[in-house]
């Protein structure tokens, strides 16, 4: 019996070793960013709020400045890291964008803690790769919520600050339920507080929060707009649907639904807050195998079947929703919002070059716009 217990103990240690190694590698995987020629400087979120400095959520902020003064846009990728098209679109902005007028601030990992974990019990892949001409770039898969290793335990009910609205317990780790944040709150609340400080101090005009949604969720393929940005979103939506090769709607941010970026940033700062949603079948509850293939191709027969039964709020067929389509939707929507804003407010205009639109991303692939870190000047190399 003693021998058997030793054998069981070795079995347990082996399980612990292999699972632990996989989790450790995933949490510590370094994601290189080659700051493009348009990046003037890279600052830290902690520069805006001491309470986040040195923590896992002390994110890089890539600052792209034009030679002419103008407006300021803030792009947030990675609010929900399990929605990778948002992070990848932000990656392209930081690596390819050149601003001629105004300023563009880009955050690739708004909730960096959330990029270091996958959904508990969700059997998510730990990471995924994007093919490029120079090889493959590997990204952490990430989760919707901050890593419990950084913020634990969750309460029975999450009471949002300052509205006191009761939300699902797990959403206390959801960056997009913690706005406008709290100075002495949880890690997630302090991250939102730091981002609000950034928006105020940099006098940001427009904040665009990049997301993806399951097809069973009614808020999909849309721009969610704070009331201050309704006209801008409606005009951009018409322009996108008419000229970019895909349709995007407009939803108005509910006045009494608290914690979300499209509500709280607009209410608590001078900025207009917009949120973009692209379709991601990987997130659908009726999906099949939850692997990198589904993540990148967006093809799933079970989700298609759900569509045939009228259970979805977005179309899907055997072509799925490939990552390039989702990333291209985001880059085109950002450019169209930016151009619409600039046409309306010439004194606060932003002129940016080098960002591929939907057609180009779909034709060449997302990887065509990622730079090779092995050939980069070490001074322009950063890690997420």
């Amino acid at each position: 019996m003693r021998l058997r217990k030793i054998a069981v103990g070795i079995f347990g240690l082996a399980l612990l070793f292999f699972s632990g190694t996989s989790f450790y590698r995933s949490r510590h995987l370094k994601e290189p960013v080659v700051a493009g020629a348009g990046v003037s400087r890279v600052v830290k979120l902690g520069d805006y709020f001491e309470g986040i400095r040195g923590t896992i959520n002390d994110a890089n902020v890539y600052v792209l400045e034009g030679t002419e003064p103008g407006g300021t846009f803030l792009i947030l990728g990675g609010s929900h890291p399990e929605e990778p098209a948002g992070r990848l679109a932000a990656w392209i902005l930081a690596e390819q964008g050149v601003v001629r007028k105004g300023r563009l601030l880009v955050v690739l990992s708004a909730n960096r803690s959330g990029t270091t974990v996958t959904r508990l019990g969700g059997a998510y892949p730990p990471d995924f790769s994007i093919k490029t001409d120079w090889g493959e770039q590997v990204f952490r898969m990430g989760d919707r919520w901050s890593n419990p290793l950084d913020q634990w335990p969750d309460p029975e009910v999450y009471v949002h600050y300052p509205s006191r609205q009761e939300l699902a317990y797990v959403d206390i780790r959801n960056l997009n339920r913690a706005w406008p944040g709290r100075k002495n709150g949880t890690l997630t609340e302090r991250t939102c507080y730091a981002l609000i400080e950034l928006i105020r101090r940099e006098k940001v005009d427009i904040v665009i929060d990049l997301h993806e949604a399951e097809l069973q969720y009614p808020v999909i393929s849309t721009i969610v707009a704070h009331q201050k940005g309704q006209d801008l979103a409606a005009m951009a939506s018409m322009m996108i649907s008419g000229s970019e090769g895909f349709n995007i709607g407009v939803e108005y941010s509910p006045l009494t639904l608290h914690g979300l970026s499209h509500r709280e940033i607009g209410d608590n700062t001078d900025a207009i807050s917009l949120l973009l949603e692209a379709p991601e079948p990987f997130l659908d509850a009726t999906r099949g195998k939850t692997g990198t293939d589904l993540l990148l191709t967006g093809r799933d027969p079970f989700v298609v079947k759900a569509g045939q039964h009228g259970l979805l709020f977005e179309k899907i067929d055997e072509k799925g929703w490939p990552i390039d389509v989702r990333v291209g939707r985001h880059t085109s929507a950002i450019l169209q919002i930016l151009e619409t804003w600039s046409g309306d407010k010439p004194d606060r205009a932003i002129v940016i070059e080098g960002i591929p639109r939907y057609d180009e991303v779909v034709a060449k692939g997302t990887g065509a716009f990622l730079r090779d870190p092995s050939k980069a000047d070490p001074k322009s190399l950063y890690y997420e």
Binding site: V8, G9, F11, L16, G20, F23, Y24, R27, L120, P153
Partner: protein, 49 residues
Amino acid sequence: MIVTILYYLLTAAVAALLVWNIVKSRKWQDEILYIIVLIPFLLRLLRLK
């Protein structure tokens, strides 16, 4: 922070109980079951997941 430390102490206590159950168990099926239940507790204590 205090609540977090208390939760780690609770996790350690449950992990210790599971190890004790493995030691005292007389059926190999139970031992395997306890090992599988124990793994998430150890992963959290080691701050791996």
